[in-house]
Symmetry: C2
Subunit: 202 residues, 2 copies
Amino acid sequence: MSHNRVDRRVQRTRQLLHNALLALIAEQGYETITVQNIIDRANVGRSTFYAHYQDKEDLLVSELDDLIYSLSWDVETLPVTDGEKESHRYTLSTLALFRHTQEHFSLYKAMVGGQGIDVVFKTTHTHFCRSIQAQIEQLVPDGGTPSVPPAIMAQYLAGALLTLLTWWLDNHMPYPPEQMDATFQALAMPGVWAVLGIQPDK
Amino acid sequence: MSHNRVDRRVQRTRQLLHNALLALIAEQGYETITVQNIIDRANVGRSTFYAHYQDKEDLLVSELDDLIYSLSWDVETLPVTDGEKESHRYTLSTLALFRHTQEHFSLYKAMVGGQGIDVVFKTTHTHFCRSIQAQIEQLVPDGGTPSVPPAIMAQYLAGALLTLLTWWLDNHMPYPPEQMDATFQALAMPGVWAVLGIQPDK
DNA sequence: ATGTTATCGAACACCATGTTCGATAACAGT
DNA sequence: ACTGTTATCGAACATGGTGTTCGATAACAT
């Protein structure tokens, strides 16, 4: 009767493939990974792989969804002290992002540092854009019309932020996340305030 | 005796391959191009290709050197009115860059727009970094020590600038280069001034 | 217990890569 | 024009990864 049968095998297979991919990315980088490598590591048959994903990029993208979801969740719930929150009324909430990145250093370094993975950049940039644009629009004063559309500001800021994150990872995180956040805010926000026509006096 | 013999054939061959690659990139994008495509288009033998370059990325990189050289030359010599120059004493010289990009729209769009080419991004970013860092260091007040190292500021600004350029190309250049330059300056420079501790009163 | 469905893995066709090598033709110098 | 050199050609080849097919097997839900 019920066609809602959920075969436990498919979830298990997908999980094995995901884990194998992440492990391989951290070990040897993405480019040189072959489908054979993935299925060997995961102990999954060749035809089974292609029954689930078109190719290794398809697997990566499906993986990315999970990662970005966990990132969003972390950024919204990671402990940020009240004092930090208070002083950030007119800024973007990027401190938790730097802390999250620090915690997943080896994986993220393999994904965006060094040669990096193209699709990871694009996807992350798109995600940053959405989040930043929403925050920008909350800063726009009532009745005001910014001289630069928020969408463009978001593009700009997401690119700058991603660049800074990449640099941080590539250079083995020479500064603590708090300082990276402060650097980003110091470089980014004065321009945003000027364009929006607001003057936050600290 | 003289081993300085320069065979005209090798220059011709390299030129043919370069032209073929650019044409194919503009037509169908970089990823799907095969070595066979390149040598067919260029009317060059297979073994000849591999006598000159290791693979198609090697050819692309050698191409990039030329492109960045021509870009540098353009940026330094493209006509910029005295008025524009005057008002840019405390800013970065990016206006010529936007104009240069506009002139080579179709090629640059294929190279950094859409799917883009990874190595083009990296190389361009590195080049921007060098140029911007030099300009930043000229803005540092005598005796002052910026709270953020110029190298990091250059990373940040190069990434932001490249992102803005990419967006511009991807969206079919909805604004003139002058406005794009103004947008970049408005978003970027207040942060730079604040970090450097200078206050340019226009 | 039963019918269903996911997995396995070997075998396969396919395609791009990068190399080899002998023949040919363009080259520079005299 | 002659000569020795060198770049080019292109066919042939080995290599390696890709994505598919299919019959057998085992895990699944009911």
